[in-house]
């Protein structure tokens, strides 16, 4: 079996997700955890786009050779791409909020070590 672009994309998506998860669960620094989240999200987005990719087709933008009539024959499924676009935007929002949290938490305790924030427990 030949390794196609599609497969490479899927594998790299999964790889990125694994790296992200490893960072989320393993890094103690809050900023590194947040970065790991963005890596994880990126991996997930790549995976979704790759799964929705149909070999030999073009982007679902009605322009030039792609018309409304032949859209479903020549273009890939637009839905996954639309979803990913939305997910990216939302991911941006979440990341921004997390960073604000990191800032606030640092203001209080002057540390970014997640192990230091265990006052609430049991």
């Amino acid at each position: 079996m030949k390794l196609s672009v599609e497969h490479i994309a899927i594998l790299s998506g999964i790889l990125l997700m694994a790296i992200g998860l490893w960072g989320i669960l393993g890094r103690k620094n809050i900023l590194k955890m947040i970065i790991s989240f963005t890596v994880f999200d990126t991996g997930l987005n790549i995976l979704i786009v790759a799964l929705g990719y149909l070999p030999g087709r073009t982007a679902p933008i009605v322009d030039g050779p792609v018309t409304v009539e032949n859209l479903s024959q020549v273009a890939v499924d637009p839905v996954p791409q639309a979803l990913v676009l939305t997910a990216i935007v939302i991911g941006f929002g979440v990341t921004a909020l997390m960073l604000v949290y990191a800032l606030k938490m640092h203001e209080k305790k002057k540390t970014l070590d997640i192990n230091e924030y265990t006052d609430l427990k049991w």
Binding site: I90, V94, N115, L120
Partner: protein, 1050 residues
């Protein structure tokens, strides 16, 4: 109908407006958000109205004029309308509650709050899987923002944990939703349903991922540490939104997605939910922080509803009612409690004691706690009844067990909290708790809603409802009239009792009639005592009315549901009454635990019996089959918790002795009989049951013997008068139980006569002792003495009381003794009979002390000015005395009607009655072994007494009277004066010999159980170590375990 897109538009538009013009609008932003929330609520209210009363039909709204998958569909049906309305009501009242904060302190909160509720509305309405993801994230961001913007100490770290968890969960959800699209070509839920069950390997995983993500959002145990921290760290008003608002919306999302899940997923959700319910409540027991406690409770309740959603196929038609009943209780109560926590401001359970300065707030606090505990008349009570019955019909016994244990643990911490708040003596309440109207309105509305839905909800139950609300109206009326002085309320309640008796008694027959007389006459006699109280006694009369309403409804009940309803009303009322005592908090608490545990057994027993026979009346108990011994045991234990059989008695001494002077006779003389009534009904229907060839009735007869010996032994070593009488009740109830277990005409006659004489004697003695206490303010016997000189009338009452109780002729107690020997002989229970004789002998020991120590001997210095008890305390005792005398002289008046009731069940082996030569219609009772005429015995005894008295007066007429101080003291004063008192440690010699019999075995056992339960809880909750990353690992592990179970089909 108004298009739901208006909510989206209004929410987003105004939020942007507030965000952009924040500074310029800061004066009016509260008006803007209020307007928005009102419009949300109004729009959803109009939907509910049109669905409920108009002829609205379920409709779909597509965005931008496309059809799915290219557009987003919002579906608006009745369900959606109701849930959206609930969430919007929560939004409206949260805004009102946060008024001051939004207006003055933090104007940045307003737009975030608006976006949050807009997001929740869309979560409820949308039919698009991806759209659910979008709004999950929007609500998560908005919540994250809300938590952060409120500058509390630990809000930031808690909010961060929440964000971490929710981001991970939404990633799982997103992957699931996208995979659903790839395997089906649509994200539109209704397309997925139309296409049949989603099939194929990828589809299976896709559905699993989407649903497990929502399950994780609902905080399943043990992957829920992040949620607990948020409940604790966030502002209580925000915690209220998370618990009631977000929780409700999330549950609805799960419900919506259930149609694409298979049976296996449903089962997994059920198990996850029930484990969460059980363990959250269990771990909550060790919790001391109020907000975290509410967090545990919230998670538990969400778990239960999640399980109900998983079980909807099992529950069938009743699903919606059960789910809504529990959800509504959780929704209103949890929001209300978090709001009250916001007003109180403290985080310790004890800090809520400041509520005592605000009786109305305290009342609502109680309403919320008891609604959560599933007491009537709240929606959760009805829902839980239906739930247990439905599960029993479906033979899901494991699920029932989990739910019952979870419910019990929940009550442990909720009621303990209530007790601490109402009665904790370590917390002094000095200042009035400051409240403002915008905070009180939401709480009041939610409390009122609970009561409304409690009344309204029962009509949707699966049982024929014929509840009598008249006694409960009296309770409500007395709440309203609570401002009146004591004597007015007392008179009102007495008149109401007598009038109700006049109406109801002719409708009752046999045992119900006899017990109704006890309850009504008991209410009358014990209420007379109340005239001796001055002032207003706030809150006392509604509670008394509540307990007696429960009792009278109990005897009116003709079906299982009415019985259980009355049982719970009575339990709650008596708990509150006992709690009023000065030091009664721990005792009231243990009373509640035993009663509630017993009630759960009764509920389960009823449900099992119903599942076999299909009947909702007491006839359900005439079941046969393998389950019947089990049902018998469950019900018997349930009722025996109320009669305080040995082992289940440890709540009684404290509860009865620490209660107020007029409450003690109520709970001891009267309330205990409710348990006897339950046993009567049970024995009448189920009779002898066998386990491994062993007759359970014989086992119970031994329990009864041990109970009476143990109770009397314990009574004889008490130093406290009321504790002595309390233990005496344990023993007497043992004798009554023994009579019932004989299952013969004479046995039951003995039991019922015992019920009546115990009621009379114990009421008399508790009132006499209450009279002593009212003058001496002391209950310890050896500190008193010689009271015969100061309180001669009370002395006579106590004397008559103990003679009657000890069962010597000529008083009515002898009837019991005579009957018991006859009954034992005719049944052939010789060994038990020996035990009963022994118990009777021990009874003399403690009864003797009651008269000897406080009344005889030297009058104590500090008692020299003591006066006789007041008229209103003596009056009921005089009445009781006359009744005792009448029954003693003419026992036939008492025994013949009982005999005719018993004769309907046991036609043979009863007494026969014969006219005698004596006047006043005196009759002689004839049994197999002999005859007895009370009048005759009385006359003879009187003659002997008079002769002896005359003789003594004759030979003693020259004796010189020795004054109290006509003696010589030695020169030393002992350091422990009580040890030199003859009355102290009176039976030291017996105690040395048989002291091992009264070792606190039962108390030690239950302490051991409670220690184990608590230490397990303490160990388990250490997994919530506060580290956000560890919480994520919990989530991942939970996910993986579910994944392998799902795919491995374990």
């Amino acid at each position: 109908m108004v298009s739901p897109y208006y909510i989206l538009t209004i929410g987003l538009g105004l939020a942007f407006l507030l965000g952009l013009l924040g500074k310029k609008l800061s004066k009016v932003n509260i008006a803007v958000i209020m307007l928005a929330m009102i419009s949300f609520a109004a729009i959803s209210a109009s939907w509910v109205w049109q669905f409920a009363f108009g002829n609205a039909e379920e409709s779909l709204f597509f965005s931008a004029g496309f059809e799915p998958p290219f557009s987003i569909a919002l579906k608006l049906g009745f369900q959606e309308a109701i849930i959206a309305f609930m969430v919007n009501i929560m939004g409206l009242f949260s805004t009102l509650f946060l008024w001051k904060k939004l207006h003055k302190e933090n104007d940045k909160l307003a737009p975030v709050l608006l976006v949050l509720f807009m997001g929740l509305n869309m979560l409820i309405l949308t039919r698009d899987l991806f759209n659910i993801f979008v709004f999950l994230e929007i609500t998560a961001i908005a919540l994250g923002g809300l938590i952060l913007l409120d500058e509390r100490k630990h809000a930031a770290s808690a909010g961060f944990k929440y964000l971490l968890a929710s981001s991970l969960i939404s990633a799982v959800y997103l992957l699931g939703a996208v995979l659903v699209y790839f395997s089906t070509g649509s994200l539109y839920i209704d397309d997925l349903i139309l296409g049949g069950p989603v099939a194929g390997p990828m589809a299976g995983i896709a559905v699993f991922l989407t649903i497990i993500a929502i399950v994780l959002e609902l905080k399943p145990f043990p992957a829920n540490g992040w949620a607990l921290d948020v409940y604790q760290g966030a502002h209580p008003a925000i915690a209220a939104i998370i618990s009631a608002g977000v929780g409700t919306a999330m549950l609805f999302v799960l419900h919506k997605l259930m149609i694409i899940s298979g049976p296996m997923m449903a089962q997994m959700i059920t198990v996850a939910g029930l484990l969460t319910f059980l363990f959250s409540n269990w771990l909550g027991i060790s919790q001391r922080d109020s907000n975290r406690l509410l967090g545990y409770s919230s998670i538990g309740q969400l778990g239960l509803i999640m399980a109900i959603i998983g079980m909807q196929d099992i529950l069938g038609d009743q699903f919606a009612f059960i789910a809504m009943g529990i959800l509504l209780s959780h929704f209103f109560a949890k929001a209300g409690l978090f709001w009250i926590s916001g007003i109180v401001g403290g985080s310790k359970l004890e800090s809520f004691a400041v509520l005592r300065s605000r009786p109305l707030l305290l009342l609502m606090f109680g309403i919320f706690l008891f609604a959560l505990s599933a007491f009537p008349p709240f929606p959760s009570f009805y829902a839980k009844w239906d739930l247990i019955f439905a599960l029993s019909d479906a033979k899901q016994y494991l699920f029932i067990t989990l739910i019952l244990f979870g419910s019990f643990f929940e009550v442990v911490y909720l009621i303990r909290w209530f007790g601490i708040v109402v009665k904790n003596t370590s917390e002094e309440v000095k200042e009035k708790l400051p409240v403002n109207i915008t905070q009180i309105i939401p709480i009041s509305v939610f409390a009122a809603a609970l009561l409304f839905f409690g009344y309204y909800g029962q009509h949707f139950m699966n049982v024929p409802i014929n509840l009598n609300y008249i006694p409960l109206i009296a309770v409500a009326a007395l709440w309203i009239l609570d401002f009146l002085p004591t004597w007015v309320k007392n008179t009102l309640l007495i008149v109401a009792t007598l009038f109700y008796g006049y109406i109801i008694l002719p409708q009752l027959h046999d045992f119900a009639f006899i017990f109704a007389i006890i309850f009504l006459l008991g209410a009358f006699l014990t209420l007379l005592f109340g005239y001796s109280y001055k002032g207003k006694r706030p809150g006392f009369y509604p509670l008394v009315a509540m307990m007696f309403a429960g009792l009278i409804l109990l005897v009116e009940a003709k079906d299982l549901f009415s019985f259980f309803f009355a049982w719970e009303i009575m339990t709650a009322g008596s708990y509150f009454l006992i709690l009023r005592g000065k030091k009664s908090q721990p005792h009231a608490f243990s009373y509640m635990l035993f009663s509630f545990g017993g009630a759960l057994l009764i509920l389960a027993g009823f449900a099992l019996a119903h599942s076999v026979t299909g009947s909702y009346t007491f006839d359900a108990l005439t079941m046969v089959g393998a389950l019947s011994p089990l049902v018998f045991i469950m019900l018997a234990i349930g009722f025996l918790t109320k009669t305080a059989a040995i082992g289940l008695h440890i709540w009684l001494p404290g509860a009865h002795s620490e209660a107020e002077s007029d409450v003690s006779p109520m709970v001891s003389g009267i309330l205990l009989k409710a348990g006897v009534y339950g046993l009567l009904i049970l024995f009448m229907r189920m009779g002898h049951q066998f386990v491994l060839g062993l007759d359970l009735m014989v086992v119970l007869s031994w329990v009864a013997v041990i109970t009476s010996i143990g109770g009397y032994l314990l009574a004889s070593v008490q130093e406290d008068m009321k504790r002595l009488l309390a233990y005496s009740s344990v023993g007497q109830l043992g004798i009554i139980l023994f009579g019932l277990t004989l299952m013969s005409n004479l046995g039951w006659l003995l039991a019922i006569a015992g019920v009546i004489t115990h009621f009379l004697n114990k009421t008399l003695l508790f009132q006499a002792v209450g009279g002593v206490y009212s003058r001496t303010h002391d209950r310890t016997m050896y500190r008193m003495g010689g009271l015969i000189h100061r309180m001669p009338i009370t002395f006579i009452f106590v004397l008559i009381g103990i003679i009657s109780m000890s069962g010597v002729p000529p008083l009515v107690g002898f009837a019991g003794k005579w009957l018991s020997f006859n009954a034992v002989l005719s049944k052939g229970y010789y060994l038990q009979g020996v035990g009963m004789v022994l118990a009777g002998a021990i009874a003399f020991l403690y009864l003797f002390r009651l008269i000897h120590v406080p009344f005889l001997g030297q009058l104590k210095d500090h008692l020299r000015k003591v006066k006789e008890a007041s008229f209103w305390i003596l009056l009921p005792q005089i009445i009781i005395l006359m009744i005792i005398m009448a029954f003693s002289a003419l026992p036939g008046v008492l025994l013949e009607p009982i005999g005719s009731a018993v004769g309907k069940i046991f036609p043979t082996g009863g007494l026969t009655w014969q006219d005698s030569f004596l006047p006043f219609g005196s009759r002689t009772a004839i049994s197999e072994y002999g005859y007895w005429n009370g009048t005759y015995v009385m006359v003879i005894t009187m003659i002997i007494f008079a002769v002896l008295l005359g003789f003594q007066m004759l030979i003693q007429r020259r004796n010189k009277k020795v004054g109290q101080f006509n003696i010589v003291y030695s020169a030393e004063r002992p350091s422990t004066p009580e040890t030199t008192h003859a009355g102290y440690h009176f039976y030291a010699h017996y105690q040395k010999a048989v002291g091992f019999l009264i070792a606190p075995l039962a108390t030690n056992f239950w302490n051991w159980v409670s220690d184990i339960v608590q230490s397990i809880a303490n160990q388990i909750r250490r997994i919530y170590n506060g580290n956000g990353q560890v919480y994520l690992i919990h989530l991942v592990i939970y996910f993986l375990i579910c994944f392998f179970i799902f795919n491995g089909g374990l």
